[in-house]
Amino acid sequence: MASQSPRTGMIEDLQLSRDEIRRYGRHLIMPEVGLSGQQKLKAASVLLIGAGGLGSPAALYAAAAGVGKIGIVDFDVVELSNLQRQIIHSTASIGRSKLDSAADRIRSLNPYVEVQPFEVQLTSENGLDILRDFDVIIDGTDNFPTRYLVNDACVLLGKPNVYGSIFRFEGQASVFDAKRGPCYRCLYPEPPPPGLVPSCAEGGVLGLLPGIVGTIQATEAVKIILGIGDVLYGRLLLFDALSMQFRQMKLRKNPECPVCGDHPTIRKLIDYEAFCGVTVQQADVGDSAVPHVSVHQLKELLDRGDDVVLLDVREPHEYDLVNISGYLIPLGDLPKRVNELDSSRQIVVLCHHGSRSAMAVRFLKQMGFTKVANLAGGIDQWAADIDSNLPRY
């Protein structure tokens, strides 16, 4: 890996100073790393897609381990609700760009690391240029369009793609390298349509779960750079924090994979938003095909005294946090409790942000309900725009 790096030509750069020898002493005394391994790390570059839950521990450990150059792609701002898991940021960083916050933290941890920030959204236009100069890519994205983009760019450039994904108590990790095994498209040829799979913002995530999965990603990146051990090529590692179990599944290369198969049809980056059937607006309301009302429209209906049934499809523990006196039927219970609803009345369905309620609306329409609409933006939008006394979570 390091031998492919354009930076390896600068041999004098790779000499470790007295200070670095002291810093990396616990590496240097291991024969699997040693001086040459530490120099490989110093010569290597790792690109993190996202400085969030997975990117936080990955960046910190890669930096501490002495990876010479760490690139980060992110354009978000640090928010209070990030700090439950995004440990590279701190309370004092709220409101700062995640890039600045992460870069400062990395430099304070290890001044020998060069940080290369990319304060942009990764796109089909800039993707190849950004990824090109890095040896290893760590995918810490939170959405399918970017995940497929990163995968395809890595295949096209021949880069290893260290994959991690999390949901609630469960995580997945693997290393995709089309030269050695399957890619993400071999695992999942197509993404789920928007709204069918809840995001972490909807489903929640145990704060330390990305700590474990992101650290696994950093571990694999370091192993790839050092050329040691068994890397997760062709294996999907599954972690369940509740049962505290690791399992692994075999992954096989799909000879018909459109990007890494025998006869690839994808030879350049495509439109990933279109591929995933999602636009930003759709992501916000769950699904544009679902009839919806805004929080302002709902307020008008209620103020007018119209007959409206508010159906809240969140979970009871969410309802306990904050509610607007909706009738509670959690989404998963809806099929067997649908007879509790009167299809002759106007029903407005709400959840936290509008995704689950969109699924509920679609289901109810299939069941023959006609007067049913989704509350766009959910109770969070209501709390933001209508009733600022309500807590937001």
Binding site: G50, A51, G52, G53, L54, G55, D74, D76, D139, G140, T141, D142, N143, F144, R147, G164, S165, I166, F167, R168, F169, E170, Q172, L187, Y188, P189, E190, P191, P192, L196, V197, P198, S199, C200, A201, G203, V205, P210, L236, L238, S243, R247, Q248, M249, K250, L251, R252, P330, L331, G332, L334, P335, K336, F363
Partner: protein, 93 residues
């Protein structure tokens, strides 16, 4: 014969929160059909309208992907564990 099917977290909302369900069947296809019949909310998450397994849902018998076995017709034995592993996107959030 009874075989354990492991339900992933994102789909447990449709299985009364159960993390695993024991079902009777000779093949993976039979087990999944029973699962979707028993928990009707699950069906559209597992199958397309045409009844095909969705392309973002993988099913494994023990550690092998059924796509590399006999797909829906993959036989199952009593001590096999069938896992449903959907694509999840979380990370940066």
């Amino acid at each position: 014969m009874p075989t354990t099917v492991l339900i992933p977290t994102p789909l447990r909302g449709f299985t009364d929160k159960k993390a695993s369900v024991v079902l009777d069947g000779e093949t993976v296809g039979e087990l999944l059909e029973q699962l979707a019949s028993q928990y009707s909310g699950l069906r559209r998450h597992l199958f397309t309208d045409g009844g095909e397994l969705r392309s973002f849902v993988n099913v494994y018998v023990n550690d092998e992907d059924i796509r590399s076995l006999q797909k829906n017709k993959t036989p199952v034995r009593e001590d096999d564990v069938v896992s449903i592993i959907p694509a999840i996107a979380g990370g940066r959030f």
